[in-house]
Symmetry: C2
Subunit: 258 residues, 2 copies
């Protein structure tokens, strides 16, 4: 009997050319499909929720697949993790990709088409590289100088709502019907360890949207623009008004809503 | 005029075959000497304090070198970091190795022979791999089950003193006159983020000594032995009595004393 299985997946994106399978590139989807197809001795094809870019991480990517494997779904994450760890010769067998959870879903569920929204977190460290940046260079965006977190938070909150976010879209994305999206929540907070986090959730995101929002917030944090400038950028529907595209390494897919 | 310069260096050891230069291997010493020799257009040969193993990290490795370069020593770290970052095509130019500091020393100073002691930190996470382990797999030792931190700390304190540490030495190290070393301080503490840290300082360390001490403390934390067993192991001068060798990835060279 065919089951429809939904996986929750965390990964360190720094060694991957993004989620989506591409010939000749190491991608998360390719790595998982290869491992699981060999493990279950049949073709496993995953539908992922978000096509994260090269270098982007995930706390909780989702992917669904249909299969007739007989193994109980409660044991699936463990069996898959053992197979993933077995591929890694270094790191004492810990894999850059981990199956956090596996559950069975109704037949008509699809990880991408059933998705109601996503939350991303972008992690920034102000003050430029330091002794610790050797360990965090693939996980944080090191920004020189200081950032005004309150102004960044004020600006982030102005992103909330149903709007045309064309100004925050990079060229080169997939075709889309509209550039209108709804941002549910957005905010910037300073953490105790000096890391500044931008949290943003919405019903969908345009190509590089979170990274362009982050670059714009960084420029506001530096005092280049006032928080109100977010409204000017958004209304203009012109990418040239927004800030730079922040690098992929600080970005994490944090949650998927169904 | 020849200057004698001392560098403080932090590095992510996960991509390196240790500190010491070896033909055909990517090592920290080799990477730095290559970069600096090209930068200053003359041969730069570094004397490092500690030959860290493959995968071992450093917050503050030290290395000295003699040179007739004319650049002011206050500008040296910046110039070197620019050259190191310039080599990296990925990570948006942040290097896995960073010069934290550069100072001029008296002519008879030598980073290794003038060293009076070192401090290491070993980082452990109990409970086995989780969603976050994809990010920390090269930086923490993931141990399954729970650990009794108080018992580990009690055991660690029994390592302190001037003793023959032959039981905590792996074979295959460099020739040494004696296996007697002095441990100045040792302790195990649980941090808020769930990370357990073993701190140990001493006048010198035998081959794999900190990693074997860590493996032994982990076995005590699991309840396999009582803290007093540390004394039995030490007195026996027999490697077979001590615990397993913990993996290199949790180990950090934290301080060098002069």
């Amino acid at each position: 009997m065919t089951k429809n299985i939904l996986l929750t997946i965390s990964y360190d994106g720094s060694g991957f050319h993004g989620w989506q399978k591409q010939p000749g590139q190491k991608t998360v989807q390719g790595y998982l499909e290869e491992t699981f197809s060999r493990l279950f001795n049949r073709e496993i094809l995953l539908s992922g929720t978000s096509r994260t870019d090269a270098g982007v991480h995930a706390f909780a990517q989702r992917a669904s697949f249909k299969t007739d494997i007989s193994i109980p779904v409660e044991r699936l994450a463990m069996v898959m993790n053992n197979a993933l760890c077995g591929r890694e010769k270094t790191s004492f067998g810990l894999s850059p990709v981990r199956i956090v959870d596996a559950v069975e879903m109704p037949d008509d569920f699809h990880a991408r088409f059933s998705c109601k929204g996503k939350e991303y977190i972008y992690k920034i460290k102000a003050g430029g590289p330091d002794a610790d940046s050797v360990f965090n260079r693939n996980y944080l965006y090191y920004v020189k100088g200081s950032l005004d977190v309150d102004k960044m938070d004020e600006a982030a909150k102005k992103l909330v709502g149903r709007k045309d976010f064309k100004s925050f879209e990079a060229s080169g994305g997939n075709p889309r019907e509209t550039t209108v999206r709804e941002i549910f929540e957005a905010g910037v907070t300073g953490k105790e360890d000096g890391i500044i986090e931008f949290h943003v959730s919405g019903d969908g995101f345009l190509y590089n949207m979170v990274r362009i929002m982050t670059g714009t917030l960084v420029e506001i944090g530096r005092g280049k623009y006032e928080p109100e400038y977010i409204e000017t950028i958004t209304e203009a529907c012109d990418r040239r008004l927004a800030g730079h595209t922040a690098p992929p390494f600080g970005l994490y897919l944090a949650k998927v809503f169904y």
